[in-house]
């Protein structure tokens, strides 16, 4: 459904994406991994239209999306902790999100899942960081879309909410949806991801199933496999 073709992005002299060719046609949960600065967030931001690529193209359902915006009505997105307008309440934000994109919504489910009912009338400025992240998740996930993109969704969440989020994502992954997640929590990836895309220095290093990556690196768990790849990169100076 999502295809990146020779995608390049440069910020000044810094080349962040160096010709990414990636076809994400498989359904289920895909974890986009890589060390800091490897280009994970930039790649996803390019797909969402927040970052304009220097070169290459991106297709969604076989159509180029560059310079367009309507395709985003089919995509749910949760970014890293968001500061919403501080004088609005979560209820008003939900109303706004519904105004901005029509379609079926399931906000009640998340209000229960994250136990938010007592917070819905309070101003955003008075809510704690964790509660804000829950509101962020609620606003990002309340529309029932086929494509879901989550950037570090676990940051700031308490263990119970994190468990609830995981079980929600697992269920969604089985509904023939495409879910893309970036995270640094490897146990989270091992638990829920069906596929892995590993970025290194703005290029695709690995794409495939978790087990294939483990056997390729000859490791038993993802954390040490990833650490191994990054160490190798450092020692061989794999850069070009």
């Amino acid at each position: 459904m999502i295809r990146f073709l020779n995608l390049e992005k440069r910020f000044g002299r810094n080349k962040v994406l160096k010709g990414i060719d990636l076809d994400l046609s498989q359904m289920g949960i895909t974890a986009v991994l890589g060390p800091n600065g490897s280009g994970k967030t930039t790649l996803l931001k390019c797909f969402l239209g927040m970052v304009i690529p220097t070169n290459g193209s991106i297709q969604f359902k076989n159509e180029s999306i560059l310079g367009r915006h309507l395709y985003r009505s089919e995509i749910s997105h949760v970014s890293q902790i968001v500061y919403f307008p501080e004088n609005l309440t979560p209820n008003e934000l939900i109303k706004m999100a519904k105004d901005l994109r029509p379609g079926t919504t399931r906000e009640k489910h998340f209000i229960e899942l994250f136990e938010l009912s007592s917070e819905m009338h309070k101003k955003m400025s008075t809510l704690s960081g964790g509660t804000r992240q829950k509101i962020n998740l609620l606003l990002g996930l309340m529309h029932d879309n086929k494509v879901i993109i989550l950037d570090e969704p676990s940051s700031g969440l308490d263990p119970v909410s994190f468990l609830n989020l995981k079980s929600f994502l697992k269920k969604e992954g089985k509904k023939n949806k495409q879910i893309l997640i970036t995270t640094h929590t490897m146990s989270f990836v091992e638990e829920i991801a069906d596929h892995i895309v590993f970025l290194l220095n703005g290029q695709i290093y690995f794409q495939g199933k978790l087990n294939d990556l483990l056997s390729q690196e000859n490791r038993k768990d993802l954390e040490s496999a990833i650490a191994n790849i990054i160490q190798q990169k450092k020692s061989t100076g794999l850069d070009a």
């Binding site: 969402l48 927040m50 304009i52 915006h69 997105h77 970014s79 919403f84 008003e92 901005l100 994109r101």
Partner: protein
């Protein structure tokens, strides 16, 4: 665009800085009315303050609002809305709430004082109108500054310098020019240079209306001749509107090319 505009105004009418700003102008206008019963004197004092203060508040508030809204803007960018609509809505909402704050703060006490029924009503509209226009112009400059500077400290620095340039430095350079070339006829050049500074334009429009141009000598007479009639006023208004439209267009151009 209208939806984003609506929620931006919802948020900002509850913003404590704007409430404070409204309160400040309320108190100031009430105090001036108590100090002098003459509406035209109140309006002169008010215009002296608003011509300096509204550009400063407009530019600082604009920069501050943009930086505070960066996360929210990213959230909106992932919605099925074009960048032009998002920024038109946010900027429109911010400029409207800033203007509302001025209209309530300056307008209410003077309306109660009965400004509708005195000959100075036109002057009142001009003083208030200029305060609103300057707020909009300087907050659009603020958005441009913030869009170009992701470093907040630098953004605030550029904003303060921009205000200082238009409010103080420009006039200083202007005077220097007049002094150096005092042997030449400079009236038309002065007239031309005024158009590049929105604060000067607003000041002239206000002064022409207060009819104190007589004390400004020959240049004053030339100005009165050019700006003091309906055509001149129209020219100033058109120039001020250009000062809104062009920065707004510049802002949208930048927005459509920027990485967020």
């Amino acid at each position: 665009m209208l939806k984003i505009f609506k929620y931006t105004v919802y948020d900002l009418i509850r913003n404590r800085w704007l409430i404070f700003y409204t309160g400040f102008f309320l108190l100031l206008t009430i105090a001036l009315i108590f100090l002098s019963n003459d509406v035209s004197k109140v309006l002169i004092s008010l215009s002296n303050i608003t011509l300096m203060l509204t550009p400063l508040v407009g530019i600082l508030y604009g920069v501050m609002y943009y930086y505070n809204s960066e996360d929210y803007i990213r959230f909106l960018l992932s919605q099925p809305i074009s960048r032009t609509s998002i920024f038109s809505g946010i900027f429109g909402g911010m400029a409207t709430s800033l203007s509302l704050s001025l209209i309530v703060g300056l307008g209410t006490p003077l309306l109660i004082r009965g400004v509708l029924f005195v000959p100075e009503f036109i002057t009142f509209i001009i003083v208030l109108g200029m305060a609103v226009l300057l707020s909009i112009i300087f907050s659009s400059l603020a958005f441009i500054i913030a869009l170009y500077n992701s470093n907040r400290i630098k953004g605030f620095g550029v904003a303060i310098f921009t205000w200082l340039f238009f409010a103080v430095i420009y006039d200083g350079l202007f005077l220097l020019l007049l002094l150096i070339f005092k042997d030449y006829p400079l009236e038309n050049i002065t007239l031309g240079l005024t158009m590049f500074n929105p604060i000067d334009l607003a000041r002239i429009l206000t002064l022409m209306n207060l009819d104190i141009s007589a004390i400004m000598g020959y240049t004053g007479a030339v100005f009165k001749n050019f700006f003091g009639n309906p055509l001149g006023m129209m020219i100033i208004l058109i120039l001020l509107i250009c000062w809104i439209v062009l920065p707004f267009y510049w802002m949208l151009r930048k927005v459509n090319r920027k990485d967020f």
